[in-house]
């Protein structure tokens, strides 16, 4: 089997696949007809026992999508929640594309937003077919039929769904099904629906990719370059030969690494330890953290791209010269690893026409395109069997399908007939790149009479979206990487004279979206500086924010709404003795979140006692899932901002596993109170938006308690100690 490895063609391959898959499809193509196997449409299947099986086009990494999609179908179908189950869709963008992307995939907190009408329509269409079938078999008018808790009734007659599927007309033409009015909702927005994935996840039976075993499978681990961009020059396997279970080792055709095969994971890991390698680092990232930080800071003086429409650096500069006072801040953010709990892995096995992946797959369309290209097979012959993902936080969604490519190459290197499980260890994960990039911000804010008159913002970070096949021509032309500038260049605060100058540093270090993407740093920069402006203009931080949000547009109203709610619920300004509060508010992924962090000090060390969160995500499909995502997002953001960083010595990552990339633990976790704003706006995502405000809310609380600002992250770098 030959392998095509040029990176450019990888990308072209995935683009072409994405493009070909979406051409000529009607948006309602999936609502076709019923078949004898109970398939009422692409999203709903009824089993003979009456169980409603909802086919989830999005993967489940813990964010509650399977529960959300099931709720949408069950609502319109009036199904009994206890008799609804979920399965993952196969890779087939024609039926299962994300309507926000045009390809099949999950990300950007879009799962429920893009599915809200689609899955409700699927449920309503299924309902219509069942009502028609019941009317026909009972000889009654459709209007006499009601459905409640999966039981179909007309007068004395009743049946469960499974008893009626035989009578469904497979050729039935479906018009636009009628959806319920929100006032008729019995499930959407209601508490008490248990998560669909809980039972399997509390008894050990939930299957993740790492749990998949197929007959004849071998196990593979990789030796990757210790510095990003290094090339394998030579290796010796002599010592590995005596490791029980060692099979073979083969260099990747890219020279980016060496694949080590073993009879089981432990054998592969032991053999890997015994192998020695030599690398060419001439075009690798060889710098240490200090050099990288200095480089990023130096670029702050050389903005290349203006990220604000109509922004004018010279004009802003002139305004700042005439200001009474200039508030200044320069901030540095470290690279961050996602560290999902389940280390990256997947299984690849041969099929008659191609291959099949078992994967907690975040972006099936990209996997199909990239792997199809590598193995020179049609993307449609790359099957993906999606299983639960043990977290992702963005890591499983790479535009280059990095670990799938490795698995495909390993599979081809063994001859293309033997199933391969590719496993990353935690060390591989922490050292493997695809980080939230290193970022530098600088803000200079001019005040006159206590009011903002100009804002010169600089932002330096390696671009995330530009240069990927996912980006539109328009964005490419603008030169503004939306995934880096978001949260600053589109701020809803009324800020006159704002300029955002950006530069993209050069480094071979691979970077990636990390839960909440650009907002991981822009919210921190914005909400720290706003707090400094409040201090400089002697205003209460909530009052100042409300003043900057008083323009009356919808975004401002919703931001002000969550801000006021969080402040009220946290008893803002009335902290008990020994407690200190900080606040931040931010919009991301069309969801509005405000958080108040409340801390205490013990011998100068900070204890995060409590976080009060207010969220406006439009129509809230599953309130308890929304609360869980806010709790989890706050915890995830908090751990990183407190103490996580990837640092380098001569290009080699200093950290390797949890002991030196210490995750947030139960004793670090504050009490969290979540308040959800009632809203009739379209639903928006919740997986990410809980993250951005927690860092600045905590930093602002620390300032309140100690008078010190946090400009260098993680906070431990700025001298903050935690209990």
């Amino acid at each position: 089997m030959t392998i095509d490895t040029s990176r450019r063609t990888f990308l072209k391959g995935s683009l072409a696949a994405g493009g070909a898959l979406i051409i000529g499809l009607r948006p309602d193509g999936q609502l076709a007809a019923a078949t004898a196997d109970g398939h009422l449409n692409a999203f709903v299947r009824i089993l003979p026992d009456g169980t409603v099986e909802v086919i989830a086009k999005h993967f489940e990494m813990g964010q509650g999508t399977t529960t959300g999609l099931a709720t949408l179908v069950a609502e319109e179908l009036d199904a009994d929640w206890g008799r609804v189950s979920t399965v993952f869709a196969p890779a087939d963008a024609a039926r299962y594309k994300n309507l926000a992307f045009g390809a099949q995939g999950t990300g950007g907190s879009t799962a429920i937003a893009n599915s809200y009408l689609q899955y409700r329509k699927a449920g309503a269409a299924a309902r219509k077919l069942i009502v028609e079938a019941a009317a026909k078999s009972w000889g009654v008018a459709e209007t006499s039929i009601s459905i409640d808790n999966s039981i179909v009734r007309s007068g004395e007659k009743s049946a469960h769904f499974g008893e009626l599927i035989g009578g469904i007309d497979a050729q039935s033409e479906l018009g636009e099904p009628t959806l319920k009015e929100p006032s008729q909702f019995k499930l959407i927005g209601k508490d008490g629906l248990s998560r669909k994935d809980t039972p399997q996840k509390i008894n050990g039976s939930a299957k993740f990719a790492l749990d998949v075993a197929v007959p004849g499978m071998v196990h593979a681990v990789l030796i990757r370059s210790p510095r990003f961009g290094g090339k394998l020059v030579s290796f010796s396997v002599e010592k590995a030969k005596s490791v029980p279970g060692y099979i073979d080792a083969k260099p990747l055709p890219t020279n980016g690494g060496l694949v080590v095969f073993g009879r089981n994971t432990w054998a592969a890991l032991q053999a890997r330890e015994a192998i020695t390698t030599e690398w060419d680092f001439s075009s690798a990232e060889n710098r240490s953290s200090k050099q990288l930080i200095d480089y990023h800071r130096s670029l702050l003086d050389q903005p290349k791209v203006q990220a604000v429409k109509g922004g004018d650096l010279a004009g802003t500069d002139a305004v700042l010269k005439g200001a009474d006072q200039v508030v200044e801040a320069e901030l540095i953010f470290p690279p961050l690893a996602h560290a999902p709990m389940e280390p990256l892995n997947c299984v690849i096995e041969p099929t008659e026409k191609g291959v099949r992946f078992h994967d907690g797959c975040q972006f099936p369309s990209i996997v199909q395109g990239v792997v199809g290209h590598i193995l020179k097979i049609d993307p449609s012959n790359v099957e993906v069997k999606t299983v639960f993902a043990g977290g992702s936080f963005g890591r499983r969604a790479t535009p280059v399908a990095d670990y799938h490519s490795e698995a495909a190459m390993a599979f081809a290197l063994l001859g293309g007939k033997t199933p391969v499980k590719l496993v990353w260890t935690r060390e591989d994960d922490i050292r493997g790149g695809f980080y939230r990039p290193m970022v530098a911000h600088r803000a200079r804010v001019g005040l006159k009479g206590g009011k903002i008159v100009g804002w010169d913002h600089r932002l330096v970070a390696k671009a995330l979206l530009l240069n990927t096949p996912m980006v539109s021509e328009e964005v490419k032309k603008s030169g503004v990487d939306p995934a880096t500038a978001e949260g600053i260049n589109d701020t809803h605060y009324a800020i006159p004279g704002m300029s955002v100058g950006m530069v993209y540093p050069e480094t071979p270090m691979p970077v990636l979206w990390w839960r909440s993407v650009g907002h991981t740093h822009t919210a921190f920069a914005m909400e720290t500086v706003i707090d400094m402006v409040a201090e400089a203009s002697k205003m209460d931080p909530v009052e100042l924010r409300l003043q900057l949000l008083a323009g009356g547009d919808k975004d401002q109203q919703r931001l002000a709404g969550v801000l006021k709610l969080a402040a009220e619920k946290a008893q803002w300004g009335k902290a008990a003795d020994g407690r200190f509060q900080g606040i931040a508010v931010h919009k991301s992924f069309n969801t509005y979140v405000a958080e108040v962090a409340e801390i205490s000090l013990k011998d100068g060390a900070v204890k995060v006692e409590k976080v009060t969160c207010a969220v406006d995500c439009g129509v809230c499909v599953n309130p308890d899932v929304v609360r869980a995502q806010m709790e989890g997002g706050i915890g995830y953001g908090l751990g990183a901002i407190m103490r996580n960083e990837i640092t380098f010595t001569d290009g080699v990552v200093d950290q390797s596993n949890f002991p030196d990339y210490e995750p947030i633990r139960i004793n670090d976790m504050p009490q969290v109170d979540v308040h959800i704003v009632a809203s009739a706006e379209p639903p928006s995502g919740v997986g990410e938006p809980g993250v951005p405000p927690i860092g600045p809310a905590l930093a602002n609380a620390i300032h309140k308690a100690t008078g010190k600002r946090v400009f260098e992250l993680p906070m431990t770098r700025s001298g903050v100690k935690f209990v």
């Binding site: 489940e60 248990s194 509390i202 749990d211 999902p340 869980a628 596993n657 949890f658």
Partner: protein, 153 residues
């Protein structure tokens, strides 16, 4: 080498290279995949099992040290504490991705079996070795308190 031990109530004999961690034997030789690999260095608790009733990290327990012991994994938990913990986890919908939860539950069962009324500090102490990257800690704490109430009856 052949190692004999009791697993979830049944005697088993496995063939494994000496020095192999119990974790990989459970998962890849015995097919019990509920016990998870998270770090391999006894730092995350995803691989927690009970060895003669005590919680241990199976990633750092060598197979030869398991000979003639009894091992319980998430698939084989029984008893009042286990029932209370799983009931509480279900009621509060603790899980998100779920990957850490076998280990969380194994640690929580042991905590409640030895301390039926744990305080927040007891919970921090007993659960501090179990990482949850989804940060479900608020609910883990609440569920342990709830399980204690269930056991009290």
């Amino acid at each position: 080498m052949a190692i004999k031990f009791n697993l979830n109530g049944n005697d088993v004999t496995v063939e494994a290279a000496s020095g192999t961690p119990l974790l990989w034997v459970l998962r890849e030789e015995l097919g019990l995949t509920g016990t998870k690999f998270g770090c391999g260095v006894a730092s995350c608790g995803a691989c927690t099992v009970h060895l003669n009733g005590e919680p241990v990290r199976s990633c750092s327990t060598l197979i030869e040290d398991v000979a003639n012991t009894s091992v319980t994994t998430i698939e084989g938990v029984k008893g009042a504490a286990a029932k209370a913990v799983q009931t509480a986890w279900q009621k509060l919908d603790v899980v998100q991705c779920g990957y850490c939860q076998s280990g969380q539950i194994m640690s929580a069962i042991n905590l409640l079996a030895t301390n039926p009324k744990p305080t927040d500090a007891d919970i921090d102490e007993a659960m501090g070795g179990n990482v949850c990257r989804c940060a479900t800690y608020v609910r883990i704490r609440a569920a342990i308190h709830h399980a204690a109430e269930i056991m009290e009856g």
